[in-house]
């Protein structure tokens, strides 16, 4: 009995002879053409007209518990300290004001909006370097018949076992020894190293589904191995590249330990998380600063998530299960 826990996402990991798989291949595509969806639709529909009270209760609870924090965050970002204290859940339309959000946007210290820039720089650098390093390495590992190269995959996989909280303190001394202590370069290289294991693993799995004949054809046409990878194999592994990019981007954007510990506060470089941390440690009781800053920190992620949710959910699921 085949139990495919990877759901639709696993369907993306198919030979490239199929059409670009990322659009229909996510776990929740409600495509009417999908036969299981059609089958499933008949039987439950009869019962569906009257959802059971348990279902109503459960979903109401889910809705309330999941939306309440976001509602509070939104509403209280536009209220005065007094209104936040006295009536946290209300939205006094006559007294709401944009001044708190504006103050957060223009705040001279720990400015979350400005930290977007540095965080984005970090995410883009790590994404690019990770693909540049992981792609060719995965190609060699996937195509090699030598046992030694196969063991290399296990070597990389060992990296997923190491929690960054445990790694980061000794890393400081290593970075200092090679002259990268307290530098953005050091942070980027560390982040790349953190993303390599899962990225290589996902790439190897995908490249193995691409027929070797394609490599041979490229070789006959005179392409070297590096050129074969970048010009022939890489474009065919697009779904895996998308998964890796999503996984790494969200991971780096949300990372707190690494930037907090590898960059001293004096460096002036704040990511969204370290800016929020530094800010809230300072103004923790001033809710007119806490809520707008948190709103600024959450907004880009939520917007990105709503826009790309299918890719993100299937990407993170595949990454977690396989990584």
């Amino acid at each position: 009995m085949s139990l495919n826990i990877f759901g639709g996402a696993a369907r993306a990991v198919r030979p490239a002879s199929q059409p670009p798989a990322d659009t229909p291949a996510d776990a929740h595509a409600d495509t009417p053409a999908d036969p299981p969806a059609g089958q499933q639709a008949d039987a439950p529909r009869a019962r569906r007209r009257r959802p059971s009270p348990i279902r109503i209760a459960l979903l109401t609870l889910l809705f309330v518990v999941m939306t309440a924090p976001v509602y509070l965050l939104l509403v209280n970002s536009f209220k005065s300290q007094q209104d936040i204290q006295n009536s946290p859940f209300s939205l006094p339309l006559t007294r709401i004001s944009l001044e708190y959000l504006e103050a957060a946007i223009h705040s001279p210290q720990y400015n979350v909006l400005r930290s977007y820039g540095f965080t984005l720089l970090l995410v883009v650098s790590v994404d690019i370097l990770c693909i540049l390093f992981a792609g060719p390495a995965a190609y060699v590992i996937a195509r090699s018949l030598k046992r030694r190269t196969q063991i290399l995959l296990l070597f990389f996989l060992a990296g997923t076992f190491i929690p960054s909280a445990a790694l980061i303190v000794p890393l400081i001394y290593v970075l200092r020894a090679i002259g990268l202590g307290n530098t953005v370069t050091g942070l980027i290289l560390h982040d790349v190293a953190m993303t390599l294991p899962v990225s290589i693993f996902l790439f190897v799995g995908f490249i193995r589904t691409v027929p070797r004949d394609i490599d041979h054809a490229a070789a006959i046409d005179g392409a070297g191995r590096l050129r074969t990878y970048w010009q022939v194999i890489f474009p065919l592994t697009r779904p895996a590249v998308v998964t890796v990019l999503i996984l790494n981007s969200i991971g780096i954007w949300n990372d707190f330990i690494s930037p907090q510990i590898l960059l001293s506060p004096g460096s002036g470089n704040y990511t969204v998380t370290t800016a929020i941390y530094a800010g809230i440690s300072q103004y923790s009781t001033d809710m007119t600063k806490v809520f707008p800053n948190l709103l600024l920190a959450v907004a880009p992620v939520i917007i990105f998530f709503i826009y790309m949710q299918r890719h993100i959910i299937s990407g993170l699921t595949v990454g977690a299960i396989k990584g």
Binding site: I5, D30, L132, F161, A166, R225, I261, F305, I313, L316
Partner: protein, 279 residues
């Protein structure tokens, strides 16, 4: 083609692990010359009251957090498994905290549950409280687990829905014809059939929670009185007091070992499952 990846990975991951193992065998305090003291730091791990408490807190948080996410994940996956627009909406709603930084979620919840937070301010108007969600030593651990479950169960829902959608429709219809109730079908057919997914989800939850750090920092900052300090939290706060690097790295190596052991379990389970799927 292999060189860049191997070099970066070795220098940034493998070398620090070796350094950590070496430092954990010394009495280094960050400045002095390190003296080799053998396994003394490891012996201290089991005597040090802070470490044993943090170890216990980590186990409690990891176990109850993992079980909570799994349980809620299963309950909601059974509700949300059919492919429907509304179900897709509720799944997304359950899932969204998974993409937000745990640090930010912790700050948000501490603004809601703090003494001066939204909940306590509302309770105060009703003449109740304040409830020490974050300031009562026992309640704070429960709150921490609650917020972790809130943030993570949606991920379990998505895993289980993917598993449930592979349960053959005919099997359930056959059971319905035989007169089985929905509950019997779930208990006797559906859940046993997705048990491999349940196992993987459980171990993924545990591996993730054994190193929980960000949400502790932002929600309780280890308090009150250290009652929510986890091992990861302790390692990072100790190392930066700058006094006991040798001991802190021994804790770090301990955490690596536990985390590696759990991950080996994941890999073994996954391999078994892949073999089962292949046959």
């Amino acid at each position: 083609m292999l060189a860049p990846a191997v070099v970066v990975y070795t220098v940034m991951t493998i070398v620090p692990v070796i350094v950590a193992v070496y430092l954990s065998l010394t009495d280094w305090n960050g400045f002095s010359t390190a003296t080799f003291i053998g396994l003394e730091n490891y012996a201290r791990l089991f005597d040090d009251p802070d470490t044993t408490r943090a170890g216990l807190v980590t186990l409690v948080v990891a176990f109850f957090g993992a079980v909570g996410m799994l349980g809620l994940g299963l309950v909601y996956a059974l509700q949300l498994k059919e492919r429907r627009w509304s179900n897709s909406f509720f799944r997304t709603l359950a899932y969204y905290p998974h993409v937000i930084s745990a640090l930010i979620l912790g700050f948000l919840w501490s603004a809601i549950l703090g003494t001066n937070g939204a909940i306590n301010n509302t309770l105060r108007d009703l003449g109740i409280g304040p409830v020490g969600f974050l300031f009562d030593e026992n309640l704070a651990v429960i709150t921490l687990v609650g917020v972790i479950v809130w943030a993570g169960f949606g991920f379990n829902v998505v895993l289980f829905v993917a598993g449930l959608q592979t349960v053959p429709r005919e099997l359930i219809e056959a059971a319905q014809i035989d007169g089985a109730s929905q509950r019997q079908i779930n208990r006797r057919i559906v859940i046993p059939m997705i048990s491999p997914v349940v196992t993987v989800a459980m171990v993924l939850n545990l591996v993730g929670l054994i190193k929980v750090y960000d949400i502790v920092v932002s929600l309780t900052d280890g308090g009150p009185a250290g009652s929510t300090e986890t091992i990861a939290y302790l390692i990072l706060s100790r190392s930066f007091a700058g006094t006991d690097v040798g001991f802190a790295t021994a804790q770090a190596v301990g955490l690596m070992v536990v985390s590696a052991a759990l991950s080996v379990v994941v890999t073994a389970l996954r391999n078994r499952q892949d073999r089962a799927a292949a046959s």
